[in-house]
Every structure is written in structure tokens, then in C-alpha cells.
Amino acid sequence: MRLTRHLQRAGALFLLACALIGARAHAADIVLNAPSAPQQRLVIDGAIDPRLIEPVFKAFQRTHPHVAVHYRNRTTEALFTTYLADPGRQQSADLVLSSAMAAQYLLANNGHAQSLGDAIDPNWPEDARWRNELVALSFEPIVMVLRADLLPKGTPPTGHQSLLDYLSAHAKTLDGKVVTYGPAISDTGFTFAVQDARQSPRYWSLVKALGQVHAHRTASTQAMLDGLSEGRFVLGYNLIGSYARLAAEQDPRLEVVIPDDYALVVKRLAFIPRNAPSPNMARTFLRYVTSRPAQTRIAADGLIGALHPALDQAGTAERLLRTHPHLRPIRLSPGLMTLIDPMKRDSVVSRWRSAFNAAPSTTVAPNGPPPP
């Protein structure tokens, strides 16, 4: 299985990078015991920051008091390798939830998921589900985060084009103070890089500009937020909006900016694994989560975004799409699987590196083979 070996290699690098960069591990599992009998169990394997998902589980348990919820916090890489190997009923969770869209799509595509039945609300958007085996449960825009108090004078950037100009204008002041994902060390970062490159060839100029200011490359949004809070960085590019908003609630100095020319949107995907011990429990949970009352609560929490099309208040996808017409949600299509193709990774990373490290005078070609 050369494929998983490649991916395992990438995963090991990822974990190493995490340790090097000192990403704070929010590794706590969530265990919510059922307050009332009879006890039923729902086991979820996920790669979401527990702070984002805990309110949802608590609300679920209020309406289903006999269900004990056990959320096992894993890394996206671990989830992928585990479910690619089809674990037995003992090890399998009832539901797998992750922000690694490509990995989740591949697992479902290759037959590791079972049918969701009628669990999903029939009004759920068509582009938020696939083959009734995969469902999107969140709608999180990819944002920039600024320390307005520490930025150099001038109009702060509001979009990609303005960011490029800003970086060029204030290259000296911003040197070493900008942070973004490193596509070589992060699946998420790689995904965003590929999606950005698809939007416009000018992305490569942005990469070059980031290189000019020696932007720090991290493997997680949390690492970027920590750095921004501490003042080590004044500008972060391509952070996951939900975490950014959470941090901004704690630290009002952080300013979350949804780019105005276009903004990527990431959806967290869930599926019921083939060997789930209690698939009907998972379906009950999904039925709850996609229902209007639960979605209203999720919108109110303002964290992961409510996808239900009947709702359009603050915190819903509908509202976001209306106020930011240039949103570009990442599509659930087979093309997603190319994002975890190891050879594609090599190609793109190689090109990214050469753009990042390019001498100021060279122009970056959008196409063509990577220069040696």
C-alpha cells in the first residue's frame, strides 16, 4: 500500500513539525456521561478543536439525556490512516468528523462510509452532502487576522490584492512579523494553497511577497493565533475563521478580516464508518445537528456556522453568502482527492518553495516546471 506509506510519511513530518513549532495541544477528549438511564453510547472520532464542538454535544445531550457522548480528539492524519485500514467494530467510532476535506472525501469515495439513511434534514443544501454518505456540518471562512494596534501606519489590507500591495509597501516593517500556513508541513495549508492558486495566478506573486517578508510558516491556525496574541506576529494569512473568532472573543486586539475579493470556505465533513458499532446513534445525532433548532443554536454560538438554508441570521451560511458574495466554498467533488495525492503535493510544494524563495527580481511563472 504505497499510498498509505506516502501519507504516513507526510503525517510523521506533520507531527514533527507540530512539536518543533510548539503548537499547543488541545488534545482533551470530551466525555459526557448520560444523566439518565438507560445508557446508550455515541462515540465520535474527530479532528476538531473540542472548544468548537463541545456546545453542540452538550445541547445534544440535553435533548437526548440517555445518551453518553464520548468524543475522541485525534489528528487528521491519524483519523485518515485508522479508517483507511477499516478498523473492526471495537475500535471504530460511530461518527468521524474532520476538517481534512480531501481525506474524508477519499474515505467515503473508497467505500469506508455507510449510508446516512434519512438522518439529514431534507432541506440540507445539495452542495453540503455527497451520495448520502458524507455530510458537511460547518461553514467556516478562511480569514486574515490583524493586530491593528501593531500594524504600520496606513490602510490595513482587506483582501488578497490589497494584502499583496500592503506587503510590498511595508516589506521592511513587516519583516518576520507575518505568519501563514506552510503547505509542506500542513495538509490544511496545502489545501488552501492549491485553492488560492486556482483562484488566480496572482497568488504566486503573493507567495513571493510573503517570502520577501520572511513570513513564518506554521502547521496550525492555533499556532498563528498564539503568536498574534503574544505580539510576535502582527498579520496572519489564511486562518480558519472559527478559531480566529474564538480567539478574538478572548483577545479583543485581534481583528478578523474576511477578504473582500474572494474568500475560501472550508466545511467540516462527517461520515458514519462502515463498522460503526451504533450507526443509528450516529444518525440520531446527525438528525439533531441538522435540525432547525440545533442549527439556530449553532448560529447563535457563532462558531462553526449554520448551514440550514431556512436560517439566515448572523452565524448562518446564508447570511455570510449574502454579505460576502465573493465567498468561494470548497466544492465536494472528486477533485478534492487530488489534494492528498503525494505527487501533486511534491509538485505544488516545490513550486511554492521556489516562489517563496525567489529573488526579488525574478517573476514567478504560474505554470511550467519548477526550476531546479
Binding site: R2, L3, L106, N109, N110, G111, W130, R131, V194, R198, S333, P334, G335, L336, M337, T338, L339, I340, D341, P342, M343, K344, D346, S347, V348, P369, P370, P372
Partner: protein, 457 residues
């Protein structure tokens, strides 16, 4: 009571069943054609995807570069729900990249794109392969690009293509079926009209039917009209018979009353005696006629000769002669027998043969014969009566056996006699012949029978 087979059902089923079979065959070919078209069209997507991927396969700096285009995989899911798989296979058959390790299609060739439908990992997929030599400065090894997807879009396209033709074929089938039923019904309508026309008639109505316009029914009504004509003729003949019979009966009966009236005017007992003798004669005549009428009707009754027993013709002849000898007028005549030995045997009715002989003897007596012989012959069994009367005009022999018809030469009497004999002959399946006797003038009437008791007809 079982229902007779229906002509309408036979014709309509005979037309509808081949139509249905033809329609089903057409539908099957339409489906097959739709499936083929769908496959051809969607195979082009597989082909295009491998082409797009092949373009991104590069050999540079002594290594392989493969930047899989996302759009190539997206095009393989035209209905957004297909599972999509791709594999880049190295020269040694190992998987270099891809989301699954696809097998090789069975019909692959080096030069072109080939596609095949296979079952893999419990899924039915359409698999395509292209051999790629990546572009580069030096000659790199051969690679194989395999792409596959599940069949949702193919099935949807097949169904969409099929629906169009299927609806048209079904429409035609329905139209044809309805037309068949309606037209056959209308074609058979004249038959129904004929049936109603016949039913509506009163029982005595034997008039000819008006023929319906179609040729087949004209022939049918023609045949029916011939039957009706024969019935009318028979009816007319029966009416005539009744008329003649009543006329014949009237004569002796009026004679009876006339004689009685005359006698009542006389006072002389000798004259009374004369009158009584004349009355006796008339009443006997009337009685004779009445008994002949009875025999005649008995003969025409369908179970006339059901009791058929083995008989000896000699015994019949002897019996007839014995009973004739009791009649006064026979005393002056030479009445004899000419029997062959042994007696010929037949199956028949004793009373009928006695009646026949009595009638023949009667006729002979009436024409004034003085020499009458009753005889039998064998092989074939024959019964004959010969007289030396004036004989008959042989050209009229056919008319002789019709009731109340007479030969032109004097054959007084009721005229029923020979008709009765003819009927008896018919009932015994015997033939009746009229000949001239060999030695003298007169009439010889012969009844020729079929065979003895053990011969089965």
C-alpha cells in the same frame, strides 16, 4: 355449459400477440442502443480525463512529476454522485500515485485508450487505461494511467435516452392495439346484425334475408337463403299434402253421408241392404286412407324404424299373401308366392314391410290385375310384387312415389301407396325399382335390401 370459442377473441388475440411480441423486441433493442450510446459518450469522459492527466505527467531532473489536475477527476462525476478512482502505475506494475490501486482492464492496448466494465471491491465500475510516456528530454519509461468511475451517470443517460424511444414505441403499441380491437369489432358487426335480424323474426317467417354488404357475409346469407327456400318448399309441400289428404278424405266421408241419406229415404229392406253395403265400402275406403295417412306420418317420424329385428323375407311375403287372401275381391284373382330358398334375411321392421306389401298389393288390385305374384330373391335380398295390369309409363317413375301423384295411366286409389312404400324403402336403406315383367305386360316393383343381419352398414 362451456362457452364456445369467440371469433372476436381469436382474431384480436391473433393480431395483438404478434404485435406485443414485436413491441417487446423493439423495446429491447431500443434499450440496448441507448446503453451503447451512453457508454460511448461517457467513455469519452474517461478518455479526456486520462488525456488531461497525461499532460501533467512530466519527466524532469531524472524524476517523475505528476500534478494531477482536479478538473480531470471532476469531469468523471457528471451526475455529482459517482465514486471516482485513479491510479498511476509504474513500469514495474506498482502504484505510484492515486486514490486506489485499480486493476488493468482486460482489453487494454498500448496505443489507444480502452475501457471496460468490471466488478471491483464489490462495486461495478467502468475502467479506462491509457499508456503514457511522459514528456521530457530523455526517453523515460512507460507508465499506465487508469481511471474509473461508478455507473450512475451512464445509467441515468441510458434511461433518459431509452425513455424517449420507449414512450414512442409504447404509444404506437397502444394506438395499434386500440385500433385492432375497434376495427375487428366493427368488422364483425354485420354478423351481430345478422344474428339480431334472425332472432327478431317470428317463428313462421321464412322469407329471404337481405344480405349485408361484405362478400363473406353475402355468401353466408346466400347459403342461409337457400336453406330458407328449401324450408319454404318443404312447408309448401306439407301444406299441399294436407290439402290433398283432406280432399281425399272428404270424398269417401261425403259418400258416407250421401249413401246414408239415400237409404233413409227408402223403405225397402233390400234397398237398405244395398245402401249398407255401399256405406260399408265407403267407410272401409275412408278407414284405409286414414290408416295409410297414419303410416305415412309414422314413417316420416324420426324414430320410425328404431325397432329393427332380424327378419326372414319369405315369412313376410307369406304373411302378406295370407292377409290379402281374406279380402273378398282377392277370391277371383290368382294370388301366389314365388319364394327362393333359403329365405333371405334382413334387419328390418315387420310392420313396415307388411305395410309396404299391403300397399303394393292394393295398387295391383286397383289397376285390375288378375295375376299377382309376391316373391323373394337373394344376393342381394329382394322382395318383389308383380302384376299383369296395364303397367306404367316408366318416364314418370319418379313422380309415382310422390304422395297423391298418379301415373297417367289408370291408377285409381288414394295415391299415397307408393309414397308409403318409397318411405319404407328409404328407412330400410333399400332401393325401389319399377320394371316390366319379363313375359307379359304389367308392373314389377322390387325392394332391394342391403344385406343380412350380420352385415354392418
Amino acid at each position: 355449459m362451456t362457452l364456445a370459442p369467440s371469433l372476436f377473441q381469436r382474431v384480436t388475440l391473433g393480431l395483438l400477440i404478434p404485435l406485443l411480441i414485436g413491441g417487446i423486441a423493439l423495446l429491447a433493442t431500443a434499450y440496448e442502443s441507448a446503453e451503447r450510446t451512453a457508454n460511448e459518450n461517457l467513455d469519452r469522459l474517461l478518455d479526456a480525463a486520462t488525456r488531461a492527466m497525461a499532460e501533467q505527467l512530466r519527466w524532469q531532473q531524472d524524476r517523475l512529476w505528476f500534478d494531477v489536475p482536479a478538473s480531470a477527476l471532476d469531469t468523471l462525476a457528471p451526475s455529482d454522485s459517482e465514486r471516482v478512482f485513479y491510479s498511476l502505475i509504474g513500469p514495474d506494475g506498482t502504484l505510484i500515485s492515486g486514490n486506489a490501486h485499480l486493476p488493468a482492464p482486460s482489453n487494454h492496448s498500448e496505443n489507444a485508450f480502452t475501457a471496460d466494465t468490471i466488478t471491483w471491491n464489490g462495486m461495478t465500475i467502468r475502467l479506462g487505461q491509457r499508456t503514457v510516456i511522459p514528456s521530457g528530454w530523455t526517453t523515460p519509461p512507460r507508465f499506465e494511467l487508469r481511471v474509473a468511475h461508478t455507473l450512475e451517470a451512464r445509467r441515468a443517460l441510458t434511461l433518459a435516452l431509452f425513455q424517449g424511444s420507449a414512450l414512442r414505441i409504447l404509444g404506437l403499441l397502444v394506438l395499434a392495439s386500440v385500433s385492432i380491437v375497434v376495427i375487428v369489432r366493427r368488422a364483425l358487426h354485420p354478423l351481430r346484425q345478422l344474428r339480431y335480424a334472425l332472432r327478431r323474426r317470428s317463428s313462421e317467417d321464412l322469407a329471404a334475408l337481405t344480405p349485408p354488404p361484405t362478400r363473406e357475409l353475402k355468401e353466408l346469407t346466400g347459403a342461409l337463403n337457400e336453406l330458407l327456400a328449401r324450408l319454404r318448399a318443404m312447408h309448401a309441400e306439407q301444406q299441399r299434402f294436407i290439402g290433398d289428404a283432406s280432399h281425399q278424405l272428404r270424398t269417401p266421408l261425403s259418400g258416407l253421408s250421401a249413401h246414408a241419406e239415400l237409404a233413409l229415404r227408402e223403405t225397402d229392406p233390400a234397398k237398405w241392404r244395398d245402401a249398407l253395403e255401399r256405406l260399408h265400402g265407403s267407410s272401409r275406403q275412408a278407414a284405409r286412407l286414414a290408416s295409410q295417412l297414419l303410416s305415412y306420418t309414422r314413417l316420416n317420424h324420426p324414430d320410425a324404424l328404431e325397432e329393427s329385428t332380424p327378419l326372414a323375407l319369405n315369412a313376410c311375403a307369406q304373411a302378406a299373401v295370407s292377409s290379402a287372401l281374406t279380402r273378398p275381391e282377392v277370391r277371383r284373382i290368382d294370388l301366389g308366392l314365388d319364394l327362393c330358398s333359403p329365405s333371405p334375411r334382413i334387419d328390418g321392421s315387420e310392420w313396415a314391410l307388411a305395410e309396404a306389401l299391403a300397399n303394393l298389393l292394393d295398387n295391383a288390385l286397383h289397376v285390375g290385375a288378375t295375376h299377382i305374384t309376391v316373391g323373394t330373391l337373394d344376393a342381394p335380398p329382394r322382395l318383389w310384387v308383380e302384376d299383369n295390369g296395364p303397367g306404367i309409363d316408366h318416364s314418370l317413375s319418379e313422380d309415382l312415389t310422390r304422395p297423391f301423384q298418379r301415373g297417367t295411366s289408370a291408377y285409381p286409389g288414394s295415391g299415397l301407396g307408393l309414397a308409403i312404400v318409397s318411405g319404407i324403402a328409404r328407412a330400410h336403406r333399400a332401393t325401389l325399382d319399377f320394371d316390366r315383367p319379363e313375359q307379359h305386360q304389367g308392373l314389377r316393383v322390387t325392394l332391394t335390401f342391403k344385406g343380412a343381419a350380420h352385415e354392418v352398414d
